[in-house]
């Protein structure tokens, strides 16, 4: 059997199993979160218990929290499908689609790009600064038509360049990309802070941020209300990018090289794949997608660059892992995380439970998806589960280096 067939089979055969594992991991995380909310409710003090189990009173009621978290994110969507909370959910989803697919592309190539956060910061700042500079040249509808694509391009290019650095270091100096990308996240945050403080600060603002972009230089709010910072156009663009990346990975020869490098690096090299070049290109592509996420964040949500960017890059890791590193799956996983991020605002306003809960869930989900063997064991006990030892459900790209299983 040739390599292509076996590699294809490996991915397809486990697609359903992957879905089951992701769903199970999600449920298990929610269950652990449930206990955590109860435990947190014992650590704090309150006048009256919000709920009680087995005669013990707890300050926080997990059911209320989860209700706010998951349903709150949709607002009153049936009465008003364009409501602000739902718009927030979708705009969070849009940015997460980019960071999720950015991580997925790298993982598929067998590279752990933890630096999407930094690549997003670099892309966002570059977009904010260059679009501001270019916005004096054109205006009106023509301005939007020219400036938004220009901003996206700049974000992608800067993200690609920043992503290529750890790629080059890995390809030619064998420097572990997990460490270099994490270090580059710190560097990106500090350098962005410096650049905004010393060079691009808005003189009229006390906060560390750049001058706001004019209305014609950002994504037009299509259908939804302008104040909700969501653009259907940006969302559709993100969806198109996911489909594009899917087609690129599955249908092009470079996409094939990239995937093979992730599953079987030795075989890929034997088959004539230039390994260092693939590493650099994959990281540049991953960085470009992260940079695009930053550009969309600036052009749709912020309207300028502000320091203290939310951790979209780290959420992207969970989104990608939950989606089995599949670009189309990233869309659904991003929506789930968009719900969580938007819902955490509702939780923050409506309950006393800290919104950082979502941060804990983010880690738990990764942990549980990373241990498919656990669910297989349970599965085998409950019903006869088709056990395929050759499938590596989580990170077919992740386990890159080892093939001797």
């Amino acid at each position: 059997m040739n390599l292509r067939d076996s590699a294809e089979r490996l991915v397809r055969a486990s697609a359903f199993e992957r879905f089951l594992i992701s769903a199970a991991a999600l449920l298990l995380s929610i269950a652990v979160g449930f206990v955590l909310i109860l435990a947190a409710g014992r650590m704090t003090t309150c006048g009256t218990a919000a709920t009680s189990f087995l005669g013990v009173g707890f300050c926080y009621d997990p059911i209320t929290v989860y209700d706010r978290l998951f349903l709150g994110a949709f607002g009153n969507v049936f009465a008003d499908p364009l409501n602000g909370q739902f718009a927030t959910t979708l705009s969070e989803t849009t940015v997460l689609m980019f960071t999720g697919v950015a991580v997925a592309v790298a993982f598929r190539a067998g590279i752990f790009n933890i630096g999407t956060q930094g690549q997003l910061v670099v892309g966002a700042l570059a977009t904010a600064v260059s679009v501001l500079a270019a916005s004096t040249l054109v205006s009106g509808l023509l301005g939007t038509v020219l400036l938004v694509p220009f901003g996206l391009l700049v974000g992608a290019l800067f993200g690609a360049a920043y992503g290529a650095i750890p790629g080059l270091l890995k390809a030619y100096a064998d420097a572990n990309e997990v460490i270099t990308t994490i270090m580059l996240n710190f560097v990106a945050t500090s350098v962005a802070l410096y650049l905004v403080q010393d060079h691009f600060a808005d003189p009229e603002s006390a906060a560390t941020q750049t001058v706001p972009l004019p209305d014609y230089a950002v994504f037009p709010s299509t259908v939804f209300r302008p104040r909700d910072d969501f653009s259907l156009l940006a969302f559709l663009f993100a969806a198109a990018v996911l489909v594009g990346i899917y087609v690129f990975l599955e249908r092009t020869s470079f996409g094939y090289d990239l995937r093979t490098s992730g599953i079987q690096p030795e075989a890929a090299e034997y088959g004539g794949v230039d390994a260092p070049r693939t590493v650099v290109t994959s990281m540049a592509l991953s960085g470009a997608l992260g940079g695009l996420g930053g550009a969309v964040y600036v052009l749709m949500i912020l309207g300028n660059f502000q320091t203290g960017i939310p951790s979209y890059g780290f959420d992207g890791i969970t989104v990608s892992i939950l989606a089995g590193n599949n670009p189309l799956g990233v869309g659904f996983a991003a929506l789930l995380f968009g719900v969580l991020k938007s819902g955490s605002i509702v939780v923050d306003v409506g309950t006393d439970v800290p919104p950082q809960l979502v941060g804990v869930l983010r880690g738990l989900i990764i942990l549980f998806v990373a241990m498919p063997e656990f669910f297989r064991m349970i599965g085998r006990r409950v019903w006869t589960f088709e056990d395929d030892p050759s499938s590596r459900p989580v990170a077919d790209g992740g386990s890159g280096g080892e093939t001797d299983e």
Binding site: L169, V178, A370, M371, E373
Partner: protein
């Protein structure tokens, strides 16, 4: 492989030599012209407070690095050290606050870190999770959990201030210029030197150390010899939890507060620890030396920020340790990792 590691070794010498030469040039320039930038930099470098800060900043990194050495030598790459430091740093302060005793706080930090390491061990060893992904999960869980708990208990990502661990000053010796800092430090600093020596001894001179090394290099042989590979790995990962726990608790209890904004007060120290032991070639003494290099740069940048010596903007000064880590990793990335690191080992009769 042998020629590779030899080449690596000579690289180390070249860079080491260049560093010594650079320092010598700086020293001469500083002595000749004390009013120049070189003179002022030399002044900072030779200040007793700089060494004191270096030692203080070394503690969390060194303990995490020692833990990382045990885990990775046994074949389990523990990327989650950062998470262990975070959880220990928070729990240390929390339990100090609750019990009123700093040492109970340290114990609490160690327990919290070890529990999280145990979870990591089960996931990796029992459920064959990809070690890197599981390690990242440990980091992200702690990154969420510590600020969450802090918010619940203290109403914000930062805890209240608690009692700190005082310094232990050895009379007379502490008055030696510069090196006096070695004798006027927190108990954690002394403990760090003891832990380094003990770790070196354990790895190189004890049966357990031999098992750990075999478990990472040739698990099959160890299995054949009748030693349970998985047990050795469990022990090594738990030990990494204990060590990182001391480091994390030391970090927060030296300052008396846990700050949980952004990357938390741990701020990448767990990842720097990984580079420290890679650079130190998995040798505890080497790891300590490279830790002190990174911590020294951190101390230097803190002093530079505080004294405003050069006109370099503060955010850029702050990147010095991170950039150094990247450069070091680029030069020494080819460190030979244990043969079976990252691989799951399944005993034949399973």
């Amino acid at each position: 492989m042998s020629s590779d590691s030899f080449g690596d070794l000579s690289w180390r010498r070249v860079v080491g030599g260049a560093a010594v030469l650079g320092l010598a040039v700086l020293a001469v320039a500083g002595v000749v012209a004390p009013e120049s930038d070189a003179g002022r930099l030399l002044d900072i470098l030779t200040a007793q407070t700089t060494l004191a800060a270096t030692l203080r900043l070394s503690v969390p990194i060194a303990f995490a690095a020692l833990g990382g050495i045990f885990a990775e030598k046994s074949g389990v790459i523990n990327i989650g050290l950062e998470g262990l430091l975070i959880i220990a740093a928070f729990t240390g302060v929390y339990l100090t606050d609750v019990t009123g005793s700093v040492w109970m706080g340290v114990l609490g930090g160690v327990v919290a870190s070890t529990v999280l390491a145990a979870l990591f061990a089960v996931v990796c060893i029992e459920f064959r999770a990809d070690q890197v992904i599981a390690g990242l999960a440990v980091w992200l869980i702690a990154l969420g959990l510590a600020p969450f708990a802090s918010q619940v208990v203290y109403g914000g990502p930062n805890t209240t201030s608690v009692e700190t661990v005082g310094t232990l000053t050895i009379p007379l010796l502490s008055r030696i210029p510069f090196f006096g800092a070695l004798f006027d430090a927190t108990p954690f600093v002394y403990l760090m030197f003891v832990a380094v020596a003990l770790s070196w001894y354990t790895i190189n001179r004890t049966t357990f150390g031999r098992w750990v090394r075999a478990s990472g290099e040739n698990p099959k042989a160890l299995d054949t010899a009748g030693v349970d590979v998985q047990r050795v790995r469990y022990a090594a990962v738990l030990l990494s939890g204990v060590l990182a726990g001391v480091g994390g608790a030391a970090l927060s209890l030296s300052l008396g507060q846990f700050t949980g904004n952004g990357a938390t007060m741990v701020n990448g120290k767990g990842f720097i620890a990984i580079v420290a032991y890679l650079f130190g070639n998995y040798n505890p003494v080497g790891a300590l030396l490279s830790t002190m290099l990174f911590a020294g740069l951190d101390a230097l940048q803190l002093t530079l920020q505080a004294r405003d010596v050069f006109a370099v903007p503060k955010p850029l000064v702050r990147t010095i340790p991170y950039v150094t880590v990247i450069v070091v990793l680029a030069l020494f990335g080819r460190t030979r990792t244990p043969e079976a690191a990252g691989d799951h080992y399944e005993s034949g009769d399973d």
